[in-house]
Amino acid sequence: MIIYGTAILAACHLLGVYIGDVLGSLIGVKANVGGVGIAMMLLIAARVFLHKRGLMPETTELGVGFWAALYIPVVVAMASQQNVVAALKGGPVALLAALGAVTLCAAVIAFINRLGPKSQDSSWQIGTVADET
């Protein structure tokens, strides 16, 4: 059933965010520490675990895949509720600080990515998940 997939996704999400909150309070930060990232790892682990045991039929995967496919529309909705007015009102300090940070980071990203091993392996481009063992 499709809902199984969505339920697994939801469970991983909630557990991840909870762990992130606990982690945050453990190290004394007033923020969630990597909750979503932890949730992603949980989901990856759940997928591998269930898939090996043949407990991941295609319909279950659809329950996750649908939400993954909705990702871009959700991001568009996110963009349309940004506080653009406040951002533009920030003045030269905010603009320069942001521009400087973005420029320098882009340069460092370019640098690191040129250093790295040349990736000939393009298997990540095709297929989703399921064909991994």
């Binding site: 190290i27 989901l43 990702y71 991001v75 568009v76 909705a77 533009l88 009102k89 400087g100």
Partner: protein, 253 residues
């Protein structure tokens, strides 16, 4: 007319699905016929979203862009943190574990650089513009990390509300810049593999910027970048009020 408005208001989330669907349709066609596929449809959609957010903000004076308009309140739910994170987690389903593992270490390194570099740039700009005390420099520098790290750090070290606003504005501009410029700079940054996406996720920071920027570049790279970027805010909130503040204080007294 009133009946239509009523129907839209009562079903705001459904309305948001339809509305975003129209934006996507429009963007894909603009991409195909106006730019001949050179600019990704998602990139156009995101820019349209930002323009609408500006218009909504001017119209209502609120802080949530288009979502402050009554009939568009569903946009607030659809694009809010809950749905955004839910969709991001869902993309993890497509992660190829080996690829992610291979780039784990460089991802962590990028995460540290992505916190320190923006902070130093932000604090230096603040200093050169006359904000020479440690609290101001730290708050603005933290804002350049992400717009959440900024106010969290500011609150922890006792910054004033105008400083916080400036810090949030810095983070917002950064997020918007990352959203808009990533597809244009993708080739320069060699953004073409899971590893490069993880480096990008660590260095570019801000989940909203990274998620939108990668979505507009190559949808398949999203989970790799997001996996790293979601640790960005936590790390920033950890380092901002502690190590980075103390370092700044030691430097400027």
């Amino acid at each position: 007319m009133e009946m239509i408005e009523h129907a839209l208001r009562e079903n705001s989330l459904v309305m948001a699905f339809a509305f975003v669907g129209i934006i996507m349709w429009l963007s894909v066609h603009l991409s195909r016929y106006l730019t001949f596929g050179r600019v990704h449809g998602s990139a156009i959609a995101i820019v349209i979203g930002l323009i609408l957010a500006y218009w909504g903000g001017m119209e209502t004076g609120g802080s949530k862009g288009l979502a402050d308009l009554k009939i568009f309140s569903g946009i607030g739910l659809m694009g809010g943190a809950m749905m955004r994170d839910f969709a991001i987690v869902a993309t993890a389903f497509e992660v190829h574990v080996d690829e992610a593992k291979k780039a784990g270490l460089i991802g962590v390194l990028s995460l540290f650089l992505g916190t320190v570099i923006p902070f130093v740039v932000g604090a230096s700009v603040a200093w050169s513009m006359g904000y020479t005390d440690a609290v101001s420099m730290t708050t603005i520098g933290a804002g350049a990390v992400t717009y959440i790290v900024g106010p969290v750090t500011g609150a922890a070290i006792g910054a004033g509300s105008d400083l916080m606003a400036l810090s949030i504005a810095t983070g917002l501009i950064k997020a918007i810049m990352v959203m808009v410029f990533t597809p244009a700079l993708a080739r320069f940054m060699k953004l073409d593999s899971p590893r490069s996406a993880m480096v990008f996720g660590g260095l570019a920071g801000t989940v909203s910027g990274v998620s939108a920027g990668l979505a507009a570049t190559d949808r398949r790279l999203v989970p790799y970048g997001a996996l790293v970027a979601t640790f960005h805010t936590g790390l920033g909130c950890l380092m901002g009020p502690s190590v980075l503040f103390l370092a700044t204080k030691a430097l400027v007294g």
